[in-house]
Amino acid sequence: MTDQHRTGTVRDINGPIVTIDLPGVRSGEQVRIGEIGLVGEVISLSGRQAVVQTYEGTDGVRPGEPAMGLGWPLSVELGPGLMGGIFDGVQRPLSKIALQSGDYIARGLDVPALDRARQWAFEPNPELEPGQQIGPGMVLGTVPETEVVSHKVLVPPGVAGELEEVAPAGAYDIESTIAHVRDAKGTSHRLSLYHRWPVRRPRPYLQRDDGVSPLITGQRVIDTFFPQLKGGKGAVPGPFGAGKTVVQQQIARWSNADIVIYVGCGERGNELVDVLESFPKLEDPYSGRKLMERTLLVANTSNMPVVAREASIYVGLTMAEYYRDMGYDVVMLADSTSRWAEALREVSGRLGQMPVEEGYPAYLASRLAAIYERAGRVKTHAAGSGSVTLIGAVSPPGGDFSEPVTSHTKDIIETFWALSKELADARHYPSIDWVTSFSGHVHTAAEWWHEVVDRRWEQRRTEALALLARDAELSRIVNLVGPEALSDAQRWQLEGAALVKEGVLQQSALDAVDTFCSPEKQFALLDLCLSIYDKGMALIELGVPVSELAEMPQLAKARRCKSMYNSDQVTEIHAFARAVEQAFEGIRLEYAKEHAE
């Protein structure tokens, strides 16, 4: 890094793609363009000339204006003050930008991500002694970033040596020195509460670990049917209107992660405002604190410059990895990776690169894979475990899952929550289709469920899916020849499947009681619906007509149970299950009596 910035000249402006004359600039280097100082990134070099993609609109820039190489690649600031914030695609704080430039985003602004004036209460790590050998990832001390996030100040990657001194407990701004380290060559390094990291390079860790525990999202169709692990990677594809955003927001709200990073990548402005306005009011069911205290937003809405949209995913991931390195379980939601891919396509198109599928460049699949591979559960340098769970929304054109972004994503991820237009049209939400969705984590999740909730979890889950599959088959028959052609047992199967759909799978994000469902309640509801089905089937085998069972008022109540009892009232659900059992027993006895007469 040099203090002497190299300067050159703008040659050609083609939308966000600017060609400059600047010998010696490196690929990936940050460049300031023109008199207003738009920031961009070098994406290709050819002789003296470099092609730059700019993160801001280029209106008003003229050939002949200056261009300046900044000497470093696109990097983010990592330190206390990120939580609860909203940043744009290149980590500029949007609330500060609003103070400077009003309701609309002005161009050429240079606002650092972290507040330079704010003082943080630093508490040094008591185990550290001057003279000790330290290395990357070691904890220098902690800062209470929010009530729920204790921010560990780590030795940045690449720094190792003898600890000369650590600052005593006290209030520091992020630029104050909190430690000095002398490396093997004898050079002393000054460490502060923050450091910078280039976003396109994954942060180092010791080794990868297997995922062990499920990410509990409080959503029944996810946790019970298609579970995700902490450190896993998943995708939510669906046509518009199928509810991708609601699924993503529900995960952001209710998952049992320590940190949530929500990247609005080329999506609607109002959706981010929804998160911004609701999260400070919503309570985290695990910590009891406000959700915003553990949430960070990256917002590059669809009308913001397309190149910054491409960067936003990497910016989000780097911050996720930073909190992972502190030993936290981080969930990052990217809504939507299709918009990211389109940004890639737009830039490649402007560069005249050969398109392969639907205009996308040939490197789409490898870039996508590289992004998802940054998720995972790892052993950190601080010797603890941390994880990044990455869940990407995919917006396939026309809802066609065979298009390039969806199909490449499907090859990489482990959990696939396919949203269905048909379910959404019938207002069956979440519209996660149980036929096309899959999870590669069922067995690992089962170990957790069996230990913590109930030993019959995997068996019950399989039974429910089998019943739903049977329902699909029978529905086809009904559509051809009508319900009269079915036997009583078959009609009861349809009733049972309907009960599972309404009583378990459907879950309204707007229902104050049902929006979050604890694992215990999830299993209680599943077990309730399946027992009704099992008991009813036993009666039908005895000869009780299906019409008598279908009209039982308990069936309607079983469908409503999810919104009648909250997650702490699982015992009420058990009590109701026993009452239903007695009702069935009553029918059985009566029937036996009638037939004995």
């Binding site: 040659r11 402006i13 083609n14 939308g15 060609t19 280029t58 209106d59 008003g60 820039v61 003229r62 050939p63 909203i86 949007l94 930008i97 609003a98 309701d103 609309y104 985003i105 046509p239 518009f240 209107g241 955003t245 080329g266 609607r268 402005g269 109002n270 405002v273 929804d274 911004l276 306005e277 917002a299 809405t301 669809s302 009308n303 913001m304 410059p305 397309v306 389109e342 198109g349 639907e358 205009g359 917006s395 054109p397 026309g398 959404a424 049209d425 019938a426 207002r427 009904v478 559509n479 051809l480 020849v481 009508g482 009269e484 309404e502 309204s508 707007l510 469908r559 409503r560 919104s563």
Partner: protein, 461 residues
């Protein structure tokens, strides 16, 4: 930079001309082109390099003799003059008069390109707008600051529906009407006249500014027209504190003009020949609507998108649906049954409905009523399909009830007169009347309290 005129135009195709050796021309600048007969055309720089600049000519390049034109770079972006006087006017895509009256004079000039609203400055839209149309108010409610397009097809009454909404839209219990910005892109003379007459007859003309580019006007001008119209809308909303309803018709013709120019520029096509940036381009337009902190005005948007061959997966409705906050879908089937407005509720959706309805906004039973109606109608449509295969006589008692419900729903709830302005209470009461054809225990989406209060038994009706 001093203003110079150049005679170095070298190439012209597809609405674009290239001019050589024009040092220091800025990207995005406005250009004026004068031909030998003294006629002028407007343009904008869309690529600026040392050797050559590329200019998009809004009026098109028909009849231009490259040897004999003067190209002048005005050193300013494309702007529009704004004053309260624009209300009642009819302008073109560049903000110039189309109504034979003098140009709008004002010191307030704004670039039409606009800038992105800072998400941190937005306020979440949540004020219910009553349109008086049951399928919208009851099931796909519109709120102030929302963008809710009408997905239609050729021959469907989207214009009549849009006009009815313009006539009837108001906040519940409030009588403030909207200022209307009407943007017509590539529509026929008859359609433009329909709206002009509508506005005049319903007495709202004083409150309307029309931006019109007809089907036989130069298509390139269509590219600036929605931006010009939205710049005017932003002025009305944020400078004059008005609530603005923007009606844009037809976004499909806009996108086709974009494709025409993109092809001429040699952009790599993505789907159906549309450029890869169609999504970003549409978003730049749609996302200009919304609510902003501490601003009194608002911009609500109702674009009309005609689906080519009624195909909702066509890139234009598809990308629109990914940007807008829902969609109102019109159906040819309902139209053929003589039902107006032919709103097909299954694919229709309002994403912002959840925060604009309920106890404090409309009525406490509204959310559950909407969910229950959707569930019943979905099942009823299945039954209707079944009946068409096996015959209605073969259906069970319960299924026949669904069949009757489907017919009643289409005729009474969906269907209403063009002049009928139903209050939200009337809409919800009608919903209860239709739902009460089912036994209580089948209405599982409604709570016991709601059932106790609103459910009507056969005797009580």
């Amino acid at each position: 930079m001093s203003i110079k005129e150049y005679r170095t135009a070298s190439r012209a195709h597809g609405g674009l001309i290239a001019v050589q050796h024009t040092p220091g021309v800025a990207f995005g600048d406005r250009v004026r082109i004068t031909d030998a007969r003294g006629g002028t055309r407007d343009g904008q720089v869309i690529r600026a390099a040392d050797e050559e600049v590329l200019i998009l000519v809004f009026e098109g390049i028909e009849d231009l003799d490259l040897e004999d034109i003067w190209v002048r770079f005005l050193d300013e972006p494309v702007e529009i003059a704004l004053s309260p006087e624009i209300l009642g006017r009819e302008l073109n895509g560049l903000g110039e008069p189309r109504d034979g009256r003098p140009p709008v004079l004002s010191n307030v000039r704004r670039p039409v390109g606009g800038a992105a609203i800072n998400p941190a400055a937005r306020t979440y839209p949540r004020e219910f707008i009553q349109t008086g149309i049951s399928t919208i108010d009851g099931l796909n409610s519109l709120v102030r600051g929302q963008k809710l397009p009408i997905f239609s097809g050729s021959g469907l009454p989207h214009n009549r529906l849009a006009a009815q909404i313009v006539r009837q839209a108001k906040l519940k219990d409030e009588d403030t009407s909207f200022s209307i910005v009407f943007a017509a892109m590539g529509v026929s003379y008859a359609d433009a006249k329909f709206f002009r007459d509508e506005f005049a007859n319903s007495g709202v003309l004083r409150n309307v500014v029309m931006f019109v580019n007809l089907a036989d006007d130069p298509p390139v001008e269509r590219l600036t027209l929605p931006r010009t119209a939205l710049t005017a809308a932003e002025y009305l909303a944020y400078d004059l504190d008005r609530h603005v309803l923007v009606v844009m018709t037809d976004m499909t013709y806009y996108a086709e003009a974009l494709r025409e120019v993109a092809t001429a520029k040699g952009d790599v096509p993505a789907r159906k020949g549309y450029p890869g940036y169609l999504y970003s381009d549409l978003a730049e337009i749609y996302e200009r609507c919304g609510r902003i902190h501490e601003r009194h005005g608002s911009i609500t948007m109702m674009p009309v998108v005609s689906m080519p061959s009624d195909d909702i997966t066509h890139p234009i409705p598809d990308l629109t649906g990914y940007i807008t906050e829902g969609q109102i879908v019109l159906s040819r089937e309902l139209q053929n049954q003589g039902i107006y407005p032919p709103v097909h509720i299954s694919p229709s959706l309002s994403r912002l409905m959840k925060d604009g309805i309920g106890r404090d906004d409309t009525r406490e039973d509204h959310p559950h009523v909407a969910a229950q109606l959707y569930a019943l109608y979905a099942r009823a449509l299945e039954t209707r399909n079944l009946a068409s295969i096996i015959g209605a006589d073969e259906l069970s008692e319960r299924d026949r009830r669904y069949l009757t419900f489907a017919d009643d729903f289409d005729k009474r709830f969906v269907g209403q007169d063009e002049a009928e302005d139903r209050s939200i209470d009337a809409t919800l009461n009608l919903a209860w009347e239709l739902m009460s054809a089912f036994p209580r225990e089948m209405l599982t989406r409604l709570s016991e309290t709601e059932l106790a209060k609103y459910y009507r038994t056969a005797e009580s009706q």
